[in-house]
Subunit: 336 residues, 2 copies
């Protein structure tokens, strides 16, 4: 007897937000397990902006998702059947599960990690997953945060951005300024997450506000958005300032937008640097970071919020939230 | 009795190329020397693109030249009078002489260095001056050249670019590709300067040519121009490729041009970095670099060309040459 497996597959390549035209709900069958494999009943999907980039037929750090293939995605679930010594039925695991009800965990490629015990899976997928790891390594390794640094982060109310700001404070940054959209998000940054100040980019001149809030310039700018806000940060870079390019969400959906920063000469005048990174490069070092982040969680020093969308069929809407700014906190889809 | 001192001063701030409207020839008097000063009869001016940036009323790495002030410029000359133990009459010195016939050398601020003996002053101002030092430290320190690297340099037939390519070959780069304007300059790069290949940007698709010539991608791109060529290089960056931002000459004269690179996401996908620098930061280390460069000169391993414009009054035209590409080699003005 076979088990049906509902999946969301890439039907057509999107040019803007995803919809029923580009992401189709289909029902496949759960395949027979081979030796060394385990069957995972997916519980939650981690919805990350990078998923949108995998849908484009463009060179990236991973091959594009093929037409008809399940949308690639992180997530977690529980082992319901196993032909591997590595996975016991009942284990909660995380990894690249894809937008589907059942995923296969393998021992080699497609291996999944056991989720830490005592931390809810959604929190784990947020703070100890791609999101938290991106904040941690981007800020500390790529950005080389130094004590006393003036740190600015865009997309600050988002899952990555809010962790960046909090980790910066924990690690001894001087002022931490968040850039976000709307007064509610800005208030939350300062009142709940311990940011020193927030800039509402919808209010207008970000560059002028940065100049007021960071009179000595920005030592470290963690960029989640690209476009005009990156330009404003470049204009306010301190001597030897560092820009960490995490993602340029401004350009993911609208290829015609965001011509790139006009203020690149700031990098010359201020001897600045700009560096991109992909969090998968740090996979081998996730455990050390996860241990430190779990410690901060336990001590209550790391606030976090999960925005959970119910139902696999709403995964495309959940992805769109990241681009419309409709979420508060880490977007996850509850599958089962 | 006073000595007249012809000078070129900034009369009005230019918006494009400089002309008689923006750079005025005036005659001042040579001031009395104070204790610790020496009088330099200027022999040659070093004409560098950065002079154009100093003419703008915009924040830079040095204050803008004031209206009515002598145009700031490197150069060299001979000591004709001295009230300092540091300078002997007859010494040939180099430093910031300005666009004028006579300059004051001081012991503190405004100090000048003795030019190396046995090397013509124009060659010295080229290979051992701002130009050669920019090539040396930009490539080796900022760019961290590694053996076997595929190196691309724009403005390759210019004074800095031609040194960059040659130093890269001497230091063990794999392929060295130069980008320049016109078939004559491109032929010179390959036939006389030892570049492995050249791209004529006037011929069209620089990105496609880079893809053909650098199939494994560009490990180190030394950018002298900014704009569309920087974008093409970013599109062809190798994994962990480095971009050295030396100057963005494309934008110096035309502020409306060059919106900045659209391909910045390459830095994320390829884990690349981009860094700017100012050669004055390396002043303390010039002697070690000058010694090494002088050695290569003596061994005949470093070809160089000087484009000498005769007469102080033609200094503005000499500066414009850098932007029209009308020069071959390092532009200098012979003053006396």
């Amino acid at each position: 007897m076979t088990t049906p497996n509902r999946q969301v597959v890439l039907a057509n390549r999107p040019t803007a937000n995803v919809d029923a035209e580009t992401c189709a709900l289909v029902t496949a069958e759960v395949p027979e397990l081979a030796e060394g494999q385990a069957l995972i009943k997916v519980s939650h999907l981690s919805i990350d902006p990078t998923i949108r980039t995998w849908m484009d037929d463009a060179p990236g750090y991973l091959p594009p998702i093929g037409i008809g293939e399940v949308i690639r995605s992180g997530g977690g679930g529980v082992v319901v059947e196993s032909r591997s010594d590595r996975y016991q039925v009942g284990d909660v695991v995380t990894g690249m599960v894809g937008w589907q009800e059942y995923a296969i965990a393998d021992e080699g490629m497609g291996a999944m990690a056991k989720a830490p015990v005592g931390i809810d899976l959604p929190v784990s997928l947020n703070v100890l997953g791609i999101t938290g790891m991106t904040a941690y390594f981007g800020l500390l390794e790529v950005g080389r945060l130094k004590e006393g640094d003036t740190v600015v982060v865009s997309g600050a109310a988002g899952a990555t951005g809010s962790s960046v700001g909090q980790i910066a404070k924990i690690k001894g940054a001087g002022a931490v300024v968040g850039i976000a959209g709307g007064p509610a998000k800005c208030a939350q940054l300062v009142e709940e997450l311990g940011f020193d100040a927030a800039i509402d980019y919808r209010e207008g001149n970000v560059s002028r506000r940065l100049r007021e809030l960071c009179p000595k310039g920005v030592d470290l700018y963690f960029d989640n958005v690209g476009g005009a806000i990156l330009d404003a940060a470049l204009a306010n870079l301190a001597m030897r300032g560092r820009v960490v390019l995490c993602g340029a969400i401004a350009g993911y959906n609208d290829k015609s937008a965001a011509p790139g920063p006009a203020n690149l000469t700031s990098l010359i005048i201020r001897r600045g640097s700009m560096e991109g990174f992909i969090i998968l490069d740090y996979l081998g070092r996730w455990p050390e970071a996860q241990a430190e982040m779990a410690g901060w969680l336990a001590e209550g020093r790391l606030a976090h919020a999960e925005h959970i969308v119910d139902g696999l069929e709403h995964a495309p809407d959940a992805l769109n939230l990241l681009f419309t700014g409709g979420n508060t906190g880490k977007v996850l889809v509850k599958v089962s």
